[in-house]
Amino acid sequence: MDKSIGSRFFSAANHTFLVLLGVMMMYPLWREISLSFSSKEEALRGGLFLWPKHFTLDAYRSILKSDYIWTAYGNSLFITIVGTVLALFFTSCTAYPLAKRTLPFKKVFVSFVLFTMIFSGGLIPTYLVMKELHLINSLWAVIVLHLVSAFNVIIMMNFIRTLPEELEESAMMDGANPIRIFFVIILPLCKPVLATLALWIAVGLWNNFFHSFIYLNDKSLMTLPVLLRLIIAGQKEADQLGEAIETSSESVIAATIVISLLPILSVYPFLQKYFIKGTLLGSVKA
C-alpha cells in the first residue's frame, strides 16, 4: 500500500480535523460532568473545566436523596417507554397499508397524512381538544400528542416499499392473513427503520418540555425537563430575592442534567448501528 505524500497529508489533516470536531462536540457534555463533581464555589468560578475541581459528590448526594427527582424520573420514563412503543405501533399500522399499491384511494389517504405535516391545528385548538378529551393533567396527553407523526409515517412507508412483494405473496399462498403477514413478516423486517424511529421518538419524548409544561399541572406529574427548568430558574429567583437556595447551585444543576441524560446515553450506542442504516434507507428512496 503505497501512499503518496499528498494523500498521507490529507489523511492526517482529515483525522486532526475530525478529532478536533469530536472534541468540540464532546466538551460541553464533559464540562457538565466535571461541573457536577466540582464544589459549589469552583463551579461558580466558571472558566475551563478539563477535570472536576475540588472533587466532591455533594451535588449528587443532595439530588439523589430528594424525592421529587425520582417522581420526575418515573414520569419521564413512563412517557418515553409507553409513548415510544405505542407510537411505533400506530406509525407502522398507518404506514403498512399506505405502502400497498393496491389500496383504494391511496393518494387521498397519503395526502391527508402529508397535510398534517404542513398544517397543524395550532396550540389553542389542540389544547381545547385535549381538554374535551379529559387529557389535561394526565401523562397520556404527552403520549397521545406524539403517537403518529407524518414524517415518521413517510419514512416507514418508504422502507416497507423496498421489501420484495414476493415475500408477502408466498406467505399469502401459505394461508397467512394480512394481519399475520404484517406482524410476522413485515414488522421483523422493519427492525432497522423501527430502531431509527424509536430513537427519534424516545429522544423527543424524553426531552419534551413544552407539552409537559402546558398539559401537566400537578406536582406529582412533573417530568424531568420541567424539573430541570424549575431548578435552573429557581437559582435566579432566589438571588433576586436574596434568598439563597441550596438545591439550585451551579453544580447541582449540572448533576441534574447528567442524571437526566443517562438513560438516553445508555440506549444510544446499541441503536446506533440501526440508526445509520435506517435513516439512509428512508432517505434515498424518498
Binding site: 459549589k40 464555589e41 461558580l44 468560578r45 466558571g46 472558566g47 430528594s66 421529587y68 417522581t71 395550532g122 396550540l123 389553542i124 385548538p125 389544547y127 381545547l128 381538554k131 389535561i136 413544552f210 409544561f213 402546558i214 399541572n217 400537578d218 406536582k219 406529582s220 412533573m222 424539573l227 427548568r229 424549575l230 431548578i231 435552573i232 430558574a233 429557581g234 437559582q235 429567583e237 432566589a238 438571588d239 433576586q240 430575592l241 436574596g242 434568598e243 439563597a244 437556595i245 441550596e246 438545591t247 439550585s248 447551585s249 451551579e250
Partner: protein
C-alpha cells in the same frame, strides 16, 4: 412562532367575546356572598397558580397545609382549602393564556402588568374593590401608590405586593457595589464624587489591588444589559425613567444630560476603567468575574453585600475569606447631583388577579386578609417562615428573624413563597449588612414619575431594548462619537417615541390630578 401568536390573539379575541356574553352569570358572583354565609360548612378548595420555581414544593401541600388549615379553623375561617400549581419562566404566560381560552383559569393567580390589562378588557378577571373593603390588613400592608398600576377605569383588578413598614423593606436595592478590601489594600476611602470614583477605578486597574503581583483586575464591570445608572444618576437622570421637565415628563434618554454622561463613560472605557467585555457578558459571566476577584466594582443589589444573600458572594467569601463587598453611596456628579434609580415598588412580586369565575371570593379574601395579619393570631409569619421555634426564631430587640430551616426545606414543607398569595416584602430575615446597604441605596434616589406600562410601549417595543441599547453600547465603547447621539434622539421620536411620550404625559396628568 409568529403565526402561532397571531392565532393566539384571534382565539383570545373570540374567548373575550364569549366571556363578555357570559357576563350575566358573572354578575351573580357577589350575590354568592350572601349565600356563602349559610353554606359555610361546605369546603371550597381554591386553585392558586404561581409563576415560581420551587421544585421541592410537595404535591399535597405538605405539613404546611395541615398547619395552616388548623390555624385558620382557630381564627374562625372555616370551609377553606387550597391547591397550588407552580409554573415558571416565560412559558407561564403561554400557559395562563391557554387556561384562559379554555375557560379553566385558576381562582387566584400570578399575572404581569401587560397580561393584566388584556385580561381586564376581556372580562376574564373581576374587580377586587368590594372584597378589599372586608380586608383591612391587605389595605394596611399595600402602600397606596401600588394600587395605581392595577387600577383600570377606577376599579382595582389585581392585588399588588405589600411591604412591612421598616425602611429596609423599601423597593430600591440596587447600587454600586465595591470590593472594600481592595480599597483598604490601596489605602483609599470610599469615593463620593465622580472624580474620586475615577481615581479609585484607575487604582483598581493599575495598582494591583488584590496584591497578587499580576495585572489581572478590571475596574467597573457590567453585562450586556448594564446601563451604568449610577453614573447617569450623577448627572441627575436615569435613562429609562420618566423625569419631570417644565411641567412635562420626558424619558431620561432624550435629555441633554445624556451626552455629558456618555462623554464621561466613553472616556472611562477608553482608559480601560470599564470592563471591555461588558456588551457580550451575561449575568453569569459577570458573577464569575466577581467570584474570581477580577472585578472591583459593579452595579448590583444589596444582597451581594452579605454572604448569605447571594450565591456569588457566598462563593467569593469561601474562596477569599478576607474579601468584603460594600455598597457605595451614589457618586456626586459635577453639578452636585446624585442618585440611584428608584426600584419599582410593584415589581417585587408578580401581581395577583382573581378569576371572574372564582367561587365565593369573599371567603378567599378572608383567607388573604388572615395571611396579611402580622398579629399573633394572624398567619403572616406562619405562611412566610414556617413555625416559630422549629423553622425560625424572632428576636424582638433587633427586630430580626433567624431562619432555622433554609428556603429549599421550607418549600419542601410547603411554606413560604409557593403559598405567599399576598406578597409582603419582609427582609427581617436579612442580615444587618444587607439592611444597611438598602439604607444607603435609599438615601439618594432618582424617582421615576410614571411606572405604568403604556399601550404605545407595547406597540414599539424595540425603542429602548434595541435602538437605545445599540447607541449606548456603541458610543460607550467608542465605535461611534458622542455627537451621534443626536441622531438617536431623532430616530427615537420618529420611530414611535412621540406617541409614547404623548400617552405618558396624558396618563401622568390624569394620575396627578387625584
Amino acid at each position: 412562532m409568529k403565526t402561532k401568536w397571531t392565532l393566539f390573539g384571534g382565539v383570545l379575541a373570540l374567548a373575550s367575546l364569549t366571556a363578555a356574553a357570559g357576563c350575566g352569570s358573572d354578575a351573580d358572583a357577589p350575590k354568592a356572598d350572601a349565600n356563602g354565609t349559610k353554606g359555610e360548612e361546605k369546603t371550597i378548595t381554591y386553585q392558586f397558580m404561581r409563576n415560581l420555581s420551587a421544585e421541592t414544593y410537595p404535591a399535597d401541600g405538605g405539613e404546611a397545609r395541615t398547619e395552616i388549615l388548623s390555624r385558620l379553623e382557630k381564627a374562625g375561617i372555616r370551609g377553606f382549602d387550597y391547591k397550588v400549581t407552580l409554573a415558571s419562566g416565560d412559558d407561564y404566560n403561554t400557559k395562563l393564556n391557554l387556561l384562559a381560552t379554555s375557560g379553566t383559569l385558576p381562582d387566584f393567580f400570578d399575572i404581569d402588568a401587560k397580561t393584566l390589562a388584556r385580561f381586564v378588557d376581556q372580562g376574564l378577571i373581576q374587580p377586587l374593590d368590594d372584597y378589599l373593603k372586608q380586608a383591612p390588613n391587605l389595605m394596611k400592608v399595600v402602600p397606596k401608590s401600588n394600587w395605581d398600576q392595577v387600577t383600570f377605569n377606577g376599579k382595582i383588578y389585581a392585588l399588588p405586593n405589600g411591604k412591612r413598614p421598616e425602611p429596609f423593606n423599601l423597593p430600591s436595592v440596587t447600587g454600586l457595589v465595591v470590593r472594600q478590601d481592595w480599597l483598604d489594600n490601596l489605602g483609599m476611602k470610599q469615593p463620593t464624587t465622580l472624580d474620586e470614583l475615577h481615581e479609585v477605578l484607575k487604582a483598581f486597574v493599575t495598582k494591583d489591588p488584590d496584591k497578587n503581583g499580576k495585572n489581572d483586575t478590571v475596574g467597573l464591570t457590567g453585562m450586556k444589559d448594564s446601563s451604568f445608572q449610577p453614573i447617569f444618576g450623577a448627572y441627575g437622570i436615569i435613562p429609562t425613567f420618566w423625569l419631570e421637565r417644565d411641567g412635562q415628563i420626558k424619558k431620561g434618554l432624550v435629555l441633554p444630560e445624556m451626552k455629558e454622561a456618555l462623554t464621561l463613560l466613553q472616556q472611562w472605557y477608553k482608559e480601560g476603567l470599564i470592563d471591555h467585555d461588558f456588551p457580550i457578558m451575561e449575568t453569569k459571566q459577570m458573577e464569575e468575574k466577581i467570584v474570581n476577584s477580577i472585578a472591583g466594582m459593579f452595579e448590583g443589589s444589596s444582597f451581594y453585600t452579605e454572604k448569605s444573600g447571594n450565591s456569588a458572594s457566598l462563593a467569593l467569601n469561601k474562596l477569599n475569606p478576607k474579601s468584603q463587598l460594600n455598597m457605595l453611596e451614589a457618586p456626586i456628579g459635577p453639578g452636585g447631583k446624585r442618585g440611584y434609580p428608584e426600584g419599582n415598588a410593584v415589581a417585587a412580586a408578580p401581581l395577583r388577579a382573581l378569576s371572574a369565575k372564582a367561587p365565593n371570593p369573599a371567603k378567599l379574601f378572608e383567607y388573604l386578609n388572615w395571611t396579611a395579619d402580622t398579629e399573633d393570631t394572624g398567619g403572616s409569619m406562619l405562611v412566610s417562615f414556617g413555625k416559630e421555634g422549629t423553622d425560625y426564631t424572632f428576636d424582638k430587640a433587633t427586630n430580626s428573624i433567624d431562619l432555622i430551616t433554609p428556603y429549599a426545606d421550607l418549600y419542601k414543607k410547603g411554606f413560604s413563597n409557593p403559598i405567599r398569595m399576598v406578597y409582603i416584602t419582609d427582609r427581617r430575615s436579612a442580615k444587618p449588612e444587607i439592611r444597611h446597604s438598602v439604607d444607603i441605596v435609599n438615601k439618594t434616589l432618582i424617582i421615576n414619575q410614571l411606572w405604568n406600562s403604556l399601550p404605545a410601549e407595547v406597540d414599539y417595543p424595540d425603542l429602548e431594548k434595541k435602538l437605545w441599547r445599540e447607541y449606548l453600547v456603541k458610543i460607550v465603547t467608542g465605535v461611534w462619537s458622542v455627537d451621534k447621539y443626536d441622531e438617536f434622539i431623532q430616530k427615537y421620536y420618529a420611530q414611535g417615541g412621540k406617541e409614547v411620550e404623548k400617552q405618558a404625559n396624558e396618563l401622568w396628568k390624569s394620575l396627578n390630578k387625584k
